[in-house]
Symmetry: C2
Subunit: 291 residues, 2 copies
């Protein structure tokens, strides 16, 4: 039975055709995220991308990500943590019975404030499969980073940090943009300096202004400012996590991002392992097995 694994996010649509043993037979991606679906025609867009893969009888498609949000194809619920694969399997929303399903997201509530994820839960389950572990701390850097705790195969809780979005706003639209080259390659020394600075506990609102002042006094170049700011933000994120008894953190995401987290976590003595897009395909395969 062929599995068509689809990750339909805000800005892009990616799919993989997997055979029975999980090998990737083919992959596709298009800039057709849920906010860019022509005419809001999700069914048509899906067909134009995946009709050929879906043709054989018995083909099953599982779709994770923002396709299940209110602005997506079909709203799928948020399953409350702790949640495992069986819970996700139980809450699938079928577009076509036994043929195309949307995967639910996860929610977690702490002190009266909820938190949500859509798509990352599948990557976490995939990473567990690929790493052969059932417990641990999983970090998924991106626009809205997720820090998720897993125990005995279930996501017990998680927190979102708007680190990626803050970086975009501060580096491109704030006063810092005047003396900062947002797309500069990583300057490791400046990045580490930012991570260290965040540890002073004086807070992002103050430390961010230091980027401006250092540039005014010509102590930080425009390319180095970008890495310093990135280090400040990731360092601030680390400052608010409990990393004491964490043996290893599993990082899932784009290599240029996970590499930065590996650097910052290494700086505070935490080991890391990195995974990329393959985690999504492995997670959807695990989900099918749990159905």
């Amino acid at each position: 039975m062929r599995l068509i694994a689809v990750d339909w996010g805000t800005s892009s649509l990616r799919g993989a055709l997997l055979d029975d043993d999980g090998s990737v037979l083919d992959e596709k991606s298009a800039p057709l995220g849920i906010l860019n679906v022509p005419g809001g025609d999700f069914a048509g867009t899906f067909a134009s991308c995946f009709a050929d893969w879906m043709r054989p009888a018995g083909s099953l498609c599982l779709i994770s990500g923002m396709a299940g949000s209110r602005q997506g194809w079909l709203e799928a619920p948020y399953v409350a943590c702790p949640a495992g694969l069986a819970d996700l399997a139980h809450h699938l929303r079928w577009i076509e019975r036994d043929r195309i399903a949307i995967v639910a997201g996860l929610s977690d509530e702490r002190d009266g404030v909820p938190d949500v994820m859509r798509g990352e839960e599948v990557q976490i389950f995939g990473a567990m499969r690929l790493c052969g572990i059932e417990s641990g701390l999983f970090v998924l850097p991106g626009t809205h980073n997720k820090w998720a705790t897993v125990r005995d195969g279930r996501v017990t809780g998680f927190r979102t940090c708007m680190t990626g979005e803050f970086y975009g706003l501060l580096s491109r639209q704030s006063i810092l943009a005047r003396t900062l080259q947002a797309d500069a390659p990583l300057d490791e020394a400046a990045f580490r300096q930012g991570v260290t600075r965040a540890g002073n506990g004086e807070g992002l609102l103050h430390n961010a202004f230091g980027v401006r002042a250092l540039a005014l006094f010509e102590r930080l170049s425009a390319p180095a400012s970008a890495s310093y700011l990135s280090g400040l933000l990731i360092g601030e994120e680390l400052r608010t996590q409990s990393l004491e008894d964490v043996g290893e953190v599993v990082l899932i995401g784009a290599p240029e991002l996970t590499a930065r987290y590996a650097l910052a976590l290494g700086q505070v003595g935490v080991e890391t392992r990195m995974l990329g897009a393959e985690a999504t395909w492995a997670g959807l395969r695990s989900l099918r097995a749990a159905m």
Copy 2:
């Protein structure tokens, strides 16, 4: 001897004509901040606004604010803290000797990272005069807030927080903007809820996402979200200050902003006193007396 007191900032130009005893005889303001000076002609813009006030022999004009920055009329230095009125008087930069001068800014360095202010130092000295105090904690809310410590008439140190700019970016340009009415009037209960939430110490990167999640679950309306976010930011600012032995905080700025700080500081048991634009005029008057 008449004093023409001018506050030339980034976005606006304001002036007051003061007589010998400090009474304000006249005031003017124009949207001619240093970034909006036609053709970069500072002298011409100054003349078109204040030539009539400057006509009597012996008129003296002191200009504080961003007019002394690199992008301004004439670059004035930053005087290192601790600094008092005598230091500012010593570092005036004359546009026309004994007639028009630009006031220096202040700098403060901590752990190898500098901080700067331009214009706020004059407001602080003015507030000292108006309140009849020589020591205390002064807070100047705005795009880039200043928290300044004063002892025996000298500014001993200060910190900038980008709170106002963060509010603008998050409320208007981030994902939060989708469910937030940035210009909604203050909802005091939601504001206090945000201040309290910031005290959880989980950091702004995480707590800011709570605004989104609360809105998704329809637990926070668009107008209330604005106040909640404002409370989160000001609460985060307070979290990183040493407020233990502070008897009273002097707040200087626009009433709609200082009122929010008074609320948040009141929530943590700190008393406040509020001053507005009059602090600038009083500060420039004190500076003339120190020349």
